[in-house]
């Protein structure tokens, strides 16, 4: 299991489109993926779960990836956050 802390950099937060991107990327990997925010944990492969976080810009969250391809998965997922979901 690996974990990493990230901060939402998108101006509008983790809204509909970035949530979709996140789920699509996470689903490509076998490993489980969870997001923990302010003590609340959701399945990172669940679009509904991510939407209910309604994470705004500046929100800090912990990414938790666990499984056989966890390193590749973490790499791909963190990249989305670092690049503000392809918006820069």
């Amino acid at each position: 299991m690996i974990t990493r802390k990230v901060t939402i950099q998108n101006e509008a937060g983790l809204h509909a489109r970035p949530s979709s991107e996140l789920v699509k990327t996470a689903t490509m990997f076998e490993s489980d993926f969870f997001i923990e925010m302010y003590g609340y944990r959701v399945n990172g492969k669940s679009i509904l779960g991510i939407m209910t976080l309604a994470a705004e810009k500046g929100a800090e969250m912990e990414l938790i990836v666990d499984g056989p391809d966890e390193e590749d998965a973490m790499e791909a997922i963190s990249k989305l956050f670092n690049e503000s979901f392809g918006n820069e």
């Binding site: 101006e11 509008a12 679009i47 509904l48 209910t52 918006n87």
Partner: protein, 580 residues
């Protein structure tokens, strides 16, 4: 208005809403079913759980097939994206776990389990702080209802829908797409603004639509026949023969004029006597772009950016650049005037405090100057695009009321530009800087403002509202909203004289420009640039091409010296009669 001549037992009734998608539609009313309230928590026995789970899985598969078919048929990338995100919801692993748990552990029927599981998410989203999350609720509601109906083996009665007028509180994009596969005649919505997904799709699918009609108390089902006019925003229940005739004639006339006028679209913009003028397009949505060419616009006179920015919710530079470039490519080397974000704080901030007088409040340039980051990002996107399309991009600032605002905005544009040049992103480029003239204070001092800017564009809707002190959204006084009021024309004359004193061009980009007799008067006043919604361009062009400049000048002279609304209206109606 008598119900004696009517075959139905309900009286004729006319209700007004907001015109959202043009055209006239008529047919039997059909109320869009929202299953929500009717699902009861029914229990099942142990040996039924497996078959209920199978029902659920089959329903998911069925809806998925419907979505995939819709995506295949759609040629619009926007529609494909919408469906893609609906598919992610349909296959959400947590949703599936929750439904199966409710069936297995709590012994609820598949129908109730689906209903209950999705309602948990719907409740959370409805109470979210973020506007985008609340707006997604309708999408989840629609998936819930589709799944419920699929398990209940109820087909959406598509085959019976042909020719009917659909009444709904609001519609999700996929509901809209699936409705459009039946030949429905029109849509009447209670909620949903002019920029909602449903309305945008109605426009691009060519379905007449009226929004803002609270129809639930009107019992549409009690009526045999309904007509809606998407140009006027009118919904008529059980029209009597006179109403029917009137609307039929209006429909035929509108359609005939539209067809006839389209033939004029490609012709040069000049009067019968050879006086040249310019007609540009007002553009807000991407799907309007092809019409710049087909409807004969000389570029874009007003690019509204608020919808783009609000829908994206990230005001990121890259996305804006992509949009502006698409517009410029469609404009075919002709000018594109980009109006900076023009909205009140209510559109931008989730924690916005309601203002007592929003139209006299924090909007347009007033808000932009307080929201530096938003402003700088937008200006950066525009400057970067204009480096690629040299001489074609102009910046226009809304809601200017003081000279200081002009100075401050020019400073922002300059400093953004200098930074980009310093960073080596662009080489120097001149971007014409203009302002909207919509506040009477600017009209009164037009000569002072003209010294500081490259062009004026008159926003007639707001200018009329501010000059006459009439909120046209207020039904009680909407009759007072009269663009024919001589005060408006004198105000416009002042603006034109102010512009002339500094030799800068003036254009009109408000709704008035799209009314042929007003357009004629503007040309007569020497205002040679008009910008309007693309659909109106051919008609205005046709009217102007049939006119002689000297007659237009006479019209303008009469209007500007008119002493009353009555007199002005007579002048305009006489002018129209002579033309026909």
């Amino acid at each position: 208005m008598s119900d004696k001549t009517d075959l139905t037992h309900e009286k004729s009734k006319i209700v007004n809403g907001m015109p959202a998608s043009p055209g006239i539609g008529a047919g039997k009313p059909w109320i869009f079913p929202r299953k929500g309230a009717s699902v009861q928590p029914e229990k099942i026995s142990d040996n039924q759980t497996e078959s209920e789970i199978t029902h659920f899985n089959q329903a998911v598969e069925k809806i998925e097939n419907q979505f995939r078919q819709m995506a295949d048929e759609a040629d619009d990338t926007e529609i494909k994206k919408i469906i893609e995100s609906q598919l992610l919801v349909l296959h959400d692993p947590e949703l599936h776990k929750s439904v199966i748990r409710k069936i297995k552990k709590e012994h609820f029927t598949a129908v109730f389990s689906i209903f209950d599981a999705l309602n948990e998410y719907i409740t959370m989203l409805e109470s979210a702080d973020a506007v985008w999350a609340r707006e997604r609720t309708i999408d989840i509601v629609s998936i819930r209802d589709q799944l419920v109906m699929a398990v209940q083996q109820k087909e959406q009665e598509e085959f019976q829908l042909d020719g009917s007028v659909v009444f709904a509180a609001e519609l999700s994009p996929t509901e809209m797409i699936s409705l459009s596969r039946s030949k429905i005649s029109g849509i009447v919505l209670h909620k949903g603004g002019l920029t909602s997904h449903a309305v945008i799709l109605a426009q691009s699918l060519g379905i007449p639509c009226v929004v803002g009609v609270n129809w639930s108390k009107l019992n549409p089902n009690q009526h045999e026949h309904v007509i809606l006019d998407g140009d006027q925003g009118e919904v008529v229940f059980s029209p009597d023969s006179a109403m029917q005739k009137k609307i039929d004639e209006r429909g035929i006339r509108q359609e005939k004029v539209r067809k006839e006028a389209l033939k004029w679209a490609g012709l040069p913009s000049e009067t019968k006597c050879g006086h040249k003028f310019t007609i540009r397009a007002n553009v807000e949505f991407e799907n309007e772009l092809p019409r710049i060419k087909t409807h004969g616009a000389d570029g874009v006179g007003l690019l509204r950016t608020e919808t783009l920015l609000l829908r994206a919710k990230d005001f990121d530079v890259k996305e804006q650049i992509a949009f502006y470039k698409k517009v410029l490519a469609s404009a075919d080397n002709k000018p594109v005037i980009i109006r900076l974000f023009d909205a009140g704080g209510d559109k931008l901030l989730d924690n916005y405090e309601t203002e007592a007088n929003p139209f006299l409040g924090w909007r347009g340039v007033r808000m932009l100057l307080d929201e530096q980051k938003l402003l700088e990002q937008q200006v950066e996107a525009i400057v970067r695009v204009s480096a690629d399309y040299k001489g074609e991009v102009k910046i226009m600032v809304p809601m200017i009321s003081t000279l200081t605002e002009v100075d401050r905005m020019k400073d922002v544009v300059e400093s953004v530009k200098e930074k980009l040049i310093k960073d080596g992103v662009i080489t120097d480029v001149h971007i014409p800087f203009g302002i909207m003239v919509e506040v009477p204070a600017v009209a009164m001092m037009a000569n002072e403002f003209a010294k500081k800017v490259d062009f004026f564009s008159i926003g007639t809707n707001d200018l009329t509202q501010y000059t006459l002190a009439v909120d046209r959204g207020n039904e009680k006084i909407s009759k007072l909203f009269r663009p024919s009021h001589p005060a408006i024309w004198r105000m416009i004359k002042l603006i034109k004289e102010g512009a002339d004193s500094a030799s800068i061009p003036v254009s009109v980009c408000g709704e008035m420009a799209s009314v042929s007799e007003y357009a004629a008067c503007f040309i007569g006043m020497g205002i040679n640039e008009l910008s309007m919604t693309t659909n109106q361009i051919p008609m205005v062009k046709m009217a102007l091409r049939k006119s002689e400049l000297k007659n237009l000048e006479k019209l303008a002279e009469d209007v500007c010296s008119s002493g009353s609304v009555k007199e002005t209206e007579e002048i305009f109606s006489n002018w129209k009669k002579q033309r026909v």
